[in-house]
Assembly symmetry: C4
Homo-oligomer: 220 residues x 4
Amino acid sequence: MDDDTRTARWERRAGTPLAVASLLFLVSYGVRILGEGLPGPVLDLSLAVLYGSWALFVVDYVVRWRLSGEGPGFVHRHWLDSLVVVLPLLRPVRIVRVYDAMQDRRQEEPRLPLQARVMLYAGLASTLLGLSAALAVYHYEHNAPDASIRTFGDALWWAVSTLATVGYGDVVPVTPMGRLVAVILMGCGLALLGAVTGSFSSYLMQRFARAGDDVGPPGR
Amino acid sequence: MDDDTRTARWERRAGTPLAVASLLFLVSYGVRILGEGLPGPVLDLSLAVLYGSWALFVVDYVVRWRLSGEGPGFVHRHWLDSLVVVLPLLRPVRIVRVYDAMQDRRQEEPRLPLQARVMLYAGLASTLLGLSAALAVYHYEHNAPDASIRTFGDALWWAVSTLATVGYGDVVPVTPMGRLVAVILMGCGLALLGAVTGSFSSYLMQRFARAGDDVGPPGR
Amino acid sequence: MDDDTRTARWERRAGTPLAVASLLFLVSYGVRILGEGLPGPVLDLSLAVLYGSWALFVVDYVVRWRLSGEGPGFVHRHWLDSLVVVLPLLRPVRIVRVYDAMQDRRQEEPRLPLQARVMLYAGLASTLLGLSAALAVYHYEHNAPDASIRTFGDALWWAVSTLATVGYGDVVPVTPMGRLVAVILMGCGLALLGAVTGSFSSYLMQRFARAGDDVGPPGR
Amino acid sequence: MDDDTRTARWERRAGTPLAVASLLFLVSYGVRILGEGLPGPVLDLSLAVLYGSWALFVVDYVVRWRLSGEGPGFVHRHWLDSLVVVLPLLRPVRIVRVYDAMQDRRQEEPRLPLQARVMLYAGLASTLLGLSAALAVYHYEHNAPDASIRTFGDALWWAVSTLATVGYGDVVPVTPMGRLVAVILMGCGLALLGAVTGSFSSYLMQRFARAGDDVGPPGR
């Protein structure tokens, strides 16, 4: 109970710095991947920011491990957190923790209905995940000899058509690493986007049901 | 409460003109895009109708803003309405408002079951959205040098196969603007179509459950 | 109430002949489409069976119209039945009526759980619809100059990959009529298959929940 | 009741050997398909393991048939088990039985929440099914004259993009047997993956709802 409280207090305090670090990580990763023509110092700076934010993620992981009071079982039991420390581009999938931290902060504000919150967070996580995947795929593909993903625009277009499960196939990864990124994007992204679709469908059903009640006799 | 009533009264009164204006907007947009060989006056007329109906949308937005008594926060809080004023082709996504306005009108008629209403409205909104996207994609694509969408028939075929998430990839947008339209269609359309599928599934489960009860012992 | 009973009695009596007629319709349609090398009399016979079963569908429609005691509004109110009389290949979508008729018949047998029934009927309807669509698409496509659907095997492969929303795009309809068939297949089939997936997911959740209860303390 | 207990006791005892046999079957099948350059004795051994584990499946089927005390109706009533005896590659779809056997074993451990269990088992079954399908498709395709699936990596990439219903179409089966494998993968895999998506969506809704309650007044 006490550990739980201390963990919760840590998450409240570390929430904003970690969110900023996540954005900085994504931006500096993007600069590293896309900024080929940029001057050297900018690239060096982005590399420093990249590793700096990654270091913050590791610190957060270690602190939470300590606070939990668990032994080596922590790595196994919080496998998603452990995976995200190794592959920081997957941070958007830790959507529930972000949501919890946010919810603690603005306790007093009027809250959105449940489905809108699910759509907002799952939609945001899908977007960030798609962006990360587009960057990674562009990195692995754009110099491959028979690549169809040649520009970052192609990579974005591929990421969106993959997340939506449309999969035109006009641009596809051809390298093993590019395909591995694609497999991860499909696995994580489809579940997230399915949550968006499902909660929108649920919202519509509920909204139509409520609207139907509104026009009914008031005594009902 | 009072503002709410005045807004509701406005929506009841403005509902039919706005629905007609939406159809006129779509038709005149279609004439502009497809009617290359039409005589000049017809094209001028369609342009006038296009801007006229758009002006009506703006008037409706401003009136609702005024009636709400809210300050600049209205733009942020009703972000979907604000977006639709800027991009009138997205009007079909305002499905819940259309549904509310319709429901007020024909209060006395026997109402469809909930799932049928969701399927009807979401299906209609998907159809109109697909039509708008086909027009816009045709506009941006049919003159592109290496386009695969060359006729309006291709554009319709592309829109349907995208909405259904089948995505054959035999015809795909290749220009940045065409791909932007596609991304918007995927985002809005898949959620709407997911609602159709979900409510049909729910209807079937309910219908089969009810039928099962009918043949069971009456005492049950 | 009395009309209802007479309609129900008609449906009980007409159920089996109509199911047989539906199968005969599909088989004779298949013979007409695929049986190019068959001797003339066989083709003539299949044409006779085709129109004979279609005539039965019309008779059934007219009888139910009469029994309902409704005026011309019947056509509008039972629009699905009206559509199916004009396009008999769409008969599989009338799944709920088939289910009702079947359920009346074998009242005494042990019944499957709800989700299994939904999966069974929706799966069967998808299969028959896919078969009809493959026949129709093969008919319109296999002689087109730049067709990719050249054999009936291609058409079946296309129908399955379309129903599953995979849509590889290696074989796609290119004629306007073939694409129209595809649009109808996507519209009807995806909803049916969505019902299969949804009810399987629901079954799994329920089964796992029940199994969890089984191992819990017996007093629960 | 007594038969039921004896069946349950058999399943508890046979669970682990059968799970091991399933893995051995998959591994030896993989060695047979992929191990073209391996020395003869290894291939002979893998063939022996293949048929040995298959024989175990048959023994398990026969024992359960005997224990059930049912006549030939057993084959029809347990059609999924009967099918899996003939096509052992489909064993992953018997997910509910595996789950039951597992649940009996570790009765005392803290159990995962319902949705996590569904995601775990359905996700595992999809993975194993996709692996089996990739092996089978590679077997039938990689020597076909106009094949696009030439390496096992291609086959894995094809299986993942098919299971996710993305279906790029850059690599597709072209032989009749390869397409048959694909049809089975679509049929079984999509339902399993739909269960993963659906239970994740349900988990997210529940988690967000609970989190919302946590920040509410404690008296609620």
